[in-house]
Symmetry: C2
Subunit: 552 residues, 2 copies
């Protein structure tokens, strides 16, 4: 029996798993919390203060995951290192690192260790919003075609705004940076000695296109003269499709991890996208929702279509040979957290305590006996703006239909329903744009833990929902890509599709729509759609005007 290792680099920790080839069974897992965590107030020197909206990480923490979690999970699993045939990793993105010509992070150097720009700008570093706004304005005024592949807007979380911020705020770091890399690719480089940038982050976070490449030099020059040759100078045109091998473990990396030198390593991946094969997705039309604090929707397609408000479409971006489509909802789990923290009366908290259950469970118990429409409420799920399909961070939340008899659990359920309507809006928009969606999968904390919510999603979308078999889909998916990097000749697979078919999959329990509920939800969704367009497409820009007044 052969095994592979998947390493999932999250926001707060890295998780390594040992997975059995052929079955996808996870034998063991090990988690290493990042020593420095997310740095959003001070640098490790304890003196250098970070600005508002900054979020940095320390590259040493990623190396620590390799040298602690991997040996530990090997030991836990009882598997001989010789039976590990491949390694794959996935990462949050864009999580940007600046390195010198040796690949050494600038923050490792004495002259930069108190310089915030020399550290890793985490995906949720939001301090480059100004740069993102300028980039979008310039791209729009130039009629840059690439914008259409990203719902018309580049996020401040992505690569180019983060590089622009470095250039504008500390040119010494920009100049000293031989390369800007995704941390995902940098860790792969630490493992293999090879710089093999992956097609997923290049496509979704750096506006790379398989056929058209990056945006033009003229465009980059318009952003700043120093950026004209940014791709050649500090990025790379060599982009490797997901499912290819990045290289083999170097002697040094072997020493670090306890794995044999020469073990195959896959090009890196992103945590959401790598979950697609983990649930067994092998073809176009199967949409996966990763449901947590926010939701990420992904689906494969055979042609490149422009879908309004999608987060991105990237060839080879999820599975090789397919267009990978991504969309998202920016407020899902966060929504319920807000509600529980701000809107639940003391009597409910006491009831939950006396029943010895969580407040979420109490609310679910009360909400689950409500029938669709019984509350008379409809909400727009825009507490954190709208990512897809309106791509508008300035939209805000609405609840409509309250009476003096409205109960907290009714509002709670209405918020859940609102996120389900938001998902249906995304699905319908994809379909209307020619991207088929014929089946629905879910992974992530909510998919695992909230049957009521999953049933509501099934009823609202009118689609059966299958749930990821593992609660560690990203790490499992990474291990599968590790098995593909090794190849069939080594006991792995030649394609991720074969790996997905054997190692990926879903639980036996699925959520089928109840037709009676779906009929009611069809009516309610119509109301949602009317309000969505009225408030979201400019008929009544009250939300923006309220935000303007708020600023005063």
């Amino acid at each position: 029996m052969k095994y592979s290792i998947g390493i999932d680099y999250g926001t707060q920790s890295g998780r390594a798993v040992v997975v059995e080839i052929g079955t996808g069974n996870i034998l063991a897992q090990s988690v290493k919390d990042y020593t420095h965590g997310v740095m959003d107030e001070y640098l490790p020197d304890g003196i250098t203060k970070l600005g508002h909206d900054w979020a940095l990480e320390h590259p040493a923490d990623y190396i620590e995951v390799l040298e602690t979690a991997v040996p530990e999970v090997l030991k836990k699993s009882g598997v001989s290192p010789l039976d590990i045939i491949g390694v794959g990793i996935d990462f949050t993105a864009c999580t940007l690192i600046a390195v010198d010509s040796e690949g050494t992070p600038l923050c490792f150097k004495d002259e930069f260790k108190s310089n915030p720009h020399a550290y890793i700008k985490l995906w949720k570093h939001h301090a480059a919003q100004k740069q993102a706004n300028r980039l979008n304005e310039i791209a729009k005024s130039r009629g840059e075609d690439f914008l259409r592949r990203y719902g018309g807007k580049i996020s401040s979380e992505w690569m180019m705004p983060k590089i622009m911020q470095t250039l504008e705020e500390d040119k010494s770091v920009f100049d000293a940076a031989d390369r800007f890399m995704e941390s995902a690719d940098w860790v792969v480089m630490q493992l293999t000695g090879n710089e093999r940038r992956n097609s997923c982050t290049a496509g979704y976070k750096a506006t790379w296109h398989k056929k058209k490449g990056y945006p033009s030099k003229d465009f980059f020059k318009a952003l700043a003269p120093e950026l004209e040759n940014i791709v050649e100078d500090k990025l790379s045109k060599d982009i490797y499709s997901l499912g290819t091998k990045a290289g083999e473990l170097t002697a040094e990396a072997a020493g670090l991890t306890g794995l044999p030198e020469g073990t195959a390593v896959a090009v890196a991946n992103v945590d959401a996208h790598v979950s697609m094969p983990a649930v067994g997705i092998t073809r176009a039309g199967q949409m996966l929702m990763i449901m947590g604090t926010s939701t990420c929707h992904m689906v494969l397609g055979e042609d490149e279509k422009i879908v309004s408000g999608m987060c991105g479409v990237v060839e080879d971006g999820i599975m090789p040979g397919y267009l990978g489509y991504e969309a998202g909802q920016s407020c899902v789990g966060d929504h319920f957290k807000w509600f529980v923290e701000n809107c639940v009366p003391a009597s409910y908290i006491n009831d939950a305590k006396s029943q010895n259950i969580s407040i979420h469970e109490l609310l679910r118990n009360k909400a689950s006996i409500l029938r669709p429409g019984q509350s008379g409420l409809v909400a727009l799920d825009w507490w954190n703006g709208n990512r897809s399909i309106l791509v508008d961070a300035d939209l805000t939340g609405i609840i409509i239909g309250m009476t003096l008899l409205t109960k907290p659990e009714e509002i709670y359920r209405a918020l859940i329903e609102a996120t389900a309507y938001g998902t249906r809006m995304i699905i319908e928009t994809f379909r209307n744009s020619g991207v088929a969606i014929d089946s629905l999968y879910a992974a992530g904390g909510i998919a695992e833990k909230d049957p009521m919510m999953m049933q509501i999603y099934a009823d609202v979308t009118g689609m059966e929902i299958k749930i990821a078999k593992s609660d560690q889909s990203p790490a499992l998916g990474s291990a599968m890509f590790g098995a593909v990097a090794a190849g069939a000749s080594k006991g792995g697979y030649d394609t991720i599709f074969e790996a997905a078919a054997e190692m990926g999959g879903v639980k036996n329990r699925t959520y089928a729509p109840v037709s009676e509920n779906s009929e009611l939800y069809n009516k309610l969704y119509e109301e949602y759609a009317i309000l969505h367009d009225y408030f979201g497409r400019g008929t009544n820009d009250v939300m923006k005007r309220l935000k303007e007044i708020k600023k005063q």
Copy 2:
């Protein structure tokens, strides 16, 4: 020094006060809770169950107020009964009683004592909604002009629907009733032996018009053949203006109350309307808001104008010689009660406890430091429908502008602001219809106790708000009408205007609009008005459709 007695018949109790003529100082007060309270489940027999939405009272309880509260308040005040020159009463309305030819309530008779229809249908008896709906349909289809004086709709709380319900559900009571009366007029009859129906309840609750009288016999016949001659048979065409004398205390009533036989008694009044002279209102253009669980707005005018969505316009309905206009908001204090019971987190309750203040006070403390517009929220105050100016019970509440940072106190303040916008909408509608409003007065629990809310009302309306000097405005107003019934020759007044000028008034502290706040609220009110019309005037009837779905 001379004195008069005011008796305020509320929903749960009757309150008697002794008031000094000339100053309006209340020397003493005494409250008698109704022995039977509000009967909404069973009759006094303990067996006869009442239907949904029923609310009855027992006429014996009103007599008990006369025989306990009046002697008690006399004693407390230390005033000699011989120095009491007049008595006035006010009542909730329409609070309907059926009596025989002797004026004896039917429920006092053995054959009717287990018959719900023989008891008093309290103002908030809502079981005649079916009849009200039919009445409105018929009136509308016949193009009845009187509807325009009542915002286009007769309430199920008013007299004719309650009589129709009696007729339809128990003809024996209808037939046995020699007269249907307002309880207000019936109590005056107990005091004086005279049936002198007042112009306030006749106008606001029984569609009587000083010049046009009641609706036509044809109309009543269209409701039911038995109702063709309802006015002549069981009501009365003799309506007495507020400010006139109903008669003098009979020997029997003198024995009951401990007052001298022959003491002047005023025609009865309604609790809200009687507060107008109590705050010192003496002319057209001065609007009074009675602010409690709901708000009642009243203003005098010199001509009869049709204001859309008003509750009523009645000549002599508030002060003799003037048109009395009434409008209302159905959800004010109730709104905040709902919020506190359903939406305030445990941490706030704990904070209030540890600070030893009420949760309302804690919320006010937090909300009062917010600036207008700072929350980014706007709400429509329709948790209990909209009385004025849309007259639509099927409208429901909205909050708009929530983000993940929205705090409970921001929602609380937004609800308060919404009710203030609702009041401004009423004021502007009156003005646009030719009814001047040049100054603003407030009475009731909220006016007494909530300076933040009163300041918001001042800022939103852009008008200085004066607060009733007494927290017992209705009883004070009734005492003033008692003094008018006595007349100047007995040490009272010849007109209510003179009484109002001397005995009514406001506190020294007023609430003046802060121009900076008003400017911000002008912008926010614009948003309210757009949403008000969009959801309230048929552009998007989502609230009604949600209610329809809810019913399924």
